[in-house]
């Protein structure tokens, strides 16, 4: 296994289906995860991401479809023989064993000679900084420390693929941010393929090489962080990763790279050269704009292309930026502006202004 061809995918799922009763937890999921990649499965609870992870780990079996681990059909490999280890959401540490015994459990099961096992356990415990807790029981550790133990217990086995089920789910925000960086550093150092399940979009954006956004048992969109954020393909992805203003458009005319549309906010121009959706060709479609792409102008600048008269309805000042809820007549818009100016940032509640929606910032969506 060690001298494996690096071009073979670490994990490959083909049309994997898993149903619980009448609910389809996985609905023909196909994806390819490369070796050495930090891959995240992102989605709301109940979208099937954990089920997919469990199927890869061998803790659950698909009703149909194929899972390949390093090119090998995983159906014939029971969980305890897969070159895969899991960091469980609840950590699932053995409560009756010491930290050292917990970490060494996998090596003990594989009957690794004692001296070698001890050396490996020690090395990993040093790496994740839990060596000083070696003799303690899991109940004597804090959440962050347990998380490290769970991580050490998995990576000591040098798996080909490490599965992480909401690894930061039970930790507070500050600790989570610290551990995100640590986890990423560790992954780069070990070169192990990490597959991480999370519902935290920021966590996924920060850590992952690629992200699969899942919804109702299907992969809604797959790509790297920037691609998913800048070019969400559906309303769901747009809303799940960050926030968006959603609008409906009726095409009035096209010329060159411009699409002129009629919306509830009046006529708008969309730059089609930045679009990836095939829906651009449709007579009607939805489109989105990220709040930070919206610019606010003073009314005195006068009307113009893609300029919409608005009134500040509500504002949230959060230091580096200010979030505005704008009343644009039939629809509300939200805008997020960096407070880059020195002194007062200008717009107060009730004040009238112009919202400028840049044509290249409007994202046409598939659905």
């Amino acid at each position: 296994m060690a001298t494996m061809d690096k071009s073979v995918p670490a994990v490959e799922t083909v049309e994997v289906v898993r149903t619980f009763g009448t609910a389809r937890a996985l609905d023909a999921v196909s994806l390819t995860i490369r070796q050495g990649e930090f891959f995240s499965l992102l989605g709301p609870s109940g979208c099937g991401k954990t089920t997919l992870l469990r199927a890869i780990g061998g803790l659950d079996y698909p009703d149909s479809g194929t899972i390949r681990l390093l090119g090998q059909n995983a159906e014939d490999i029971p969980a305890h023989k897969r070159p895969v280890n899991t960091v469980f959401q609840s950590y699932a540490l053995f409560p009756h064993m010491t930290i050292e015994e917990n970490v060494g459990f996998g090596l003990r099961m594989k009957k690794i000679p004692k001296a070698e096992a001890e050396a490996r356990v020690k090395k990993v415990m040093d790496m994740v900084q839990i060596a000083q807790f070696a003799g303690r029981k899991p109940s004597q550790l804090s959440g962050g420390q347990r998380q490290r133990v769970a991580l050490a217990r998995a990576i000591v086995n040098e798996p080909q693929v490490l599965l992480l089920d909401e690894p930061m789910g039970a930790l507070d925000l500050k600790l989570r941010k610290e551990l995100q960086v640590e986890l990423l550093t560790l992954q780069r150092r070990l070169g192990i393929t990490f597959i991480c399940v999370t519902h935290d979009q920021e966590e996924a954006l920060v850590m992952s090489d690629r992200i699969a956004v899942m919804r109702a048992g299907k992969i809604e969109q797959l790509g790297d962080a920037e691609e998913l954020y800048e070019h969400p393909r559906t309303r769901f992805v747009g809303q799940f990763l960050g926030s968006v203003n959603l609008l409906e458009a009726r095409v009035t005319s096209r010329s060159g790279k411009d699409i002129l549309v009629d919306t509830q906010l009046g006529p708008l121009r969309i730059d089609s050269s930045t679009q990836r959706s095939p829906a651009c060709a449709n007579p009607n479609f939805h489109f989105a704009i990220r709040p930070e792409k919206v610019a606010l102008l003073s009314r005195s600048e006068g009307p113009g292309e893609n300029r919409i008269p608005v009134k500040v309805q509500q504002l949230m000042y959060i230091g580096s930026e200010t979030h505005y809820d704008l009343d644009a007549g039939p629809q509300k818009l939200s805008a997020e502006l960096m407070n880059a100016k020195v002194g007062s940032q200008g717009y107060d509640i009730g004040q009238e202004a112009l919202a400028y929606l840049p044509p290249a910032g409007l994202i046409v969506l598939d659905d």
């Binding site: 780990g57 061998g58 803790l59 029971p78 969980a79 305890h80 023989k81 895969v84 280890n85 899991t86 469980f88 609840s90 699932a92 540490l93 053995f94 409560p95 009756h96 459990f105 996998g106 099961m109 594989k110 217990r153 998995a154 086995n157």
Partner: protein, 357 residues
């Protein structure tokens, strides 16, 4: 007169116990007072040392009194009675005078009312040299209790997991069915087994078909019948605590073991068994101790040919009218059970799951 002395003595013992206990509570409270002069705040109330004593007397007083009067003192009386000669005791019972326990001179020989003979006899010192009667009885009872416990474990394990895996609405029903035998008196249940194992019962006929027992004769008395009776009598004691433990199993720990390379057997051994150990240990204690003293079932289904500890004690207090000997047997067999449980608890605590099976 002597009766009054005894009652006064008993009251003195209880008062002493309560005083010792409240002194203990008081000392604890004083230690707190040194740090917080105005008393400790507990459940939103400020409690002084006196409050602590009053409260502990009200809450634990009745329990202490009960245990003292109905357990500790009788036990003490029993322990002492084992050191008394039967003649002295009989004399005391006849005359009601403590004079009975004074040493007597008969034909120039001084005989004490106190003796070690009863206890020595239990260990095999007979009047005619070594006589292993009581060690044998103890060993027989121990074997019966151990066998019953093992059979109960073997039956209860699959059953507990089976019930725990049932849909929620059937669990209650299944547990009730498991406990239903408790609704009937043990004696009646045991006689019922005699009927079920009688020559013309379906069970006997079925067993005869596979070559067990002689057609036309009952399946009892036999060792098998005794175990059937014992297991059916004590199984619920093991099922209930074990089921409670199985219900609480964190299956993600079993999944973690499997994920880390443990096959089915080792998942059970390292991840499941340790989680049910508390329930199993409680069940074993609940079955082993009463099974050790059981004699109705071996009598009725085993043919009353062999003495169990229970029979031996009962006979000494009954037919043989030798209360001191009965006391000695009871006292020492209790000691034996306690030692067995102590060893069991020590090893179980030291080595975790491995100690048990």
């Amino acid at each position: 007169m002597e009766g009054l002395i005894v009652i006064a003595g008993l009251i003195a013992v209880v008062v002493l116990a309560t005083v010792i206990l409240s002194r203990h509570a008081q000392r604890g409270a004083r230690a707190v007072e040194r740090v917080r002069p105005r008393g400790e705040i507990e459940f939103g109330e400020r409690l002084t040392a006196r409050d602590h004593v009053i409260r502990s007397a009200i809450t634990s007083g009745p329990g202490i009194a009960w245990v003292t009067f109905f357990l500790l003192i009788p036990l003490l009386v029993m322990g002492v009675m084992g050191f008394v000669t039967n003649n002295a005791l009989k004399e005391y019972q006849a005359t009601g005078s403590l004079e009975a326990f004074k040493a007597k001179e008969v034909k120039g020989v001084t005989t004490s009312a106190f003796t070690l003979d009863n206890y020595k006899r239990f260990f095999g010192y007979g009047r005619l040299g070594f006589n292993p009667l009581y060690p044998k009885i103890l060993w027989r009872s121990f074997k019966l209790a151990l066998g019953t416990t093992i059979c109960c474990i073997l039956c209860a394990f699959p059953l507990a997991f089976f019930i725990a895996a049932m849909p929620a609405k059937y669990k209650g029903l299944a547990l009730t069915l498991a406990v239903i035998p408790f609704w009937t008196n043990l004696l009646i249940r045991t006689y019922a087994w005699q009927l079920l194992l009688a020559p013309d019962s379906l069970i006997t006929k079925a067993m005869n078909l596979i070559g067990v027992g002689d057609p036309g004769s009952p399946l009892y008395p036999s060792a098998g019948a005794v175990f059937v009776g014992m297991v059916s009598a004590y199984l619920p004691f093991l099922i209930l605590p074990l089921y409670t433990a199985v219900e609480k199993i964190d299956w993600s720990i079993a999944e973690a073991a499997s994920d880390l390379g443990a096959d089915g057997k080792r998942v059970f051994w390292y991840a499941v068994l340790p989680q049910v150990m508390p329930g199993l240990a409680a069940g074993i204690t609940l079955v082993f101790i009463p099974a050790m003293g059981q004699y109705v079932v071996p009598d009725l289904l085993g043919g009353a040919k062999m003495d169990m500890l229970g029979n031996a004690i009962q006979r000494q207090f009954g037919a043989s009218l030798n209360w001191p000997m009965g006391s000695a047997i009871a006292f020492l067999s209790m000691g034996a059970v306690m030692i067995a449980l102590w060893i069991y608890a020590r090893t179980a605590a030291k080595r975790g799951a491995e100690a048990l099976l």
